[in-house]
Symmetry: C2
Subunit: 174 residues, 2 copies
């Protein structure tokens, strides 16, 4: 579980580990399977050690198990803000960007539509760059690879359109 993702989930509100995990799975749906349960706690403890997160015993009910409530520190909030502003496209998967939008909207940190727009500009830039490189490498093996990269970028741009429709629909309904 990437640290940024956990931080972003925490940006909405201080939570227990299982709450974070539940929200994560709800946001990702079936695409979010295959992640180890204990992973989130590893990440949380490392974030705490790095000072991005504080951890308090939830002393609400005396006989409850000793759960810990995690909350962002100032440094943590800063890192989340930086992450949201970072427009380098997440190669590995779309989930990261998707969670970024959700976190930005839930924590009222930024306007999802603005993020989508900035991301589109960045993606278009890369697309042009890849297309230019593909021209130069035509009919070589590297050119073939570039063709694939171009196709993926175009698919991602189409997905951004879908994101825009989704989030603008949510916005006008609020």
């Amino acid at each position: 579980m990437q640290q940024e993702v956990v931080l972003a989930m925490l940006a909405k509100e201080p939570s227990h580990g299982y709450q974070l995990r539940a929200r994560l799975q709800q946001a990702l749906g079936p695409a979010g399977d295959g992640m180890n349960a204990g992973q989130i706690y590893v990440t949380l403890s490392r974030l705490a050690k790095a000072g991005l997160v504080t951890c308090e015993e939830s002393s609400g009910l005396p006989d409850r198990p000793d759960r810990k409530v995690y909350a962002l520190t100032a440094a943590g909030q800063q890192r989340v803000a930086g992450w949201i502003g970072d427009m380098s496209w997440p190669g590995p998967g779309l989930a990261e960007f998707h969670l970024k939008l959700i976190a930005a909207a839930a924590g009222r940190l930024a306007d999802p539509l603005a993020i989508i727009d900035a991301q589109r500009r960045e993606l278009l830039r890369r697309l042009r760059e890849a297309q230019r490189a593909a021209m130069a490498e035509e009919h070589s093996s590297a050119g073939l690879l570039l063709e694939g990269i171009v196709l993926r970028l175009q698919a991602d741009l189409h997905w951004l359109e879908a994101c825009e429709r989704y989030w603008s629909g949510l916005k006008e309904r609020s």
Copy 2:
């Protein structure tokens, strides 16, 4: 640098580190930038420690710098074969699959067209699965994410077509 990639480059013939790096960069072209030079040696030494690779001093010319020639062991060849046969689609990037085809063709380990075909079947299977899941999650945030996954899978399938054209062109010319 993923270990499998280095092993695959080594499958063609025993080589020095810089030969591997050069071949890698030629195969990837501009898409292969941004990798640290020393990375390959880290990987090679770890592979040697794991017994997948042997390392001999190149005692060809006596006064040359003491380069090391790396070669696959039987276990290493087995791992490469397993990697080539593994049809789980490489999420992170297309480069891995691309290198797989190159390695298979160069080492005469498998027919690239057969790999492409098997990969297409697997991709189609995942596409159907994602589309079915997307139906169930319509208009939820998870559904949006699934839509993106579908678009990427379709793009990858189109790229496979391009791969097929490329490799079948190479084949008939040989």
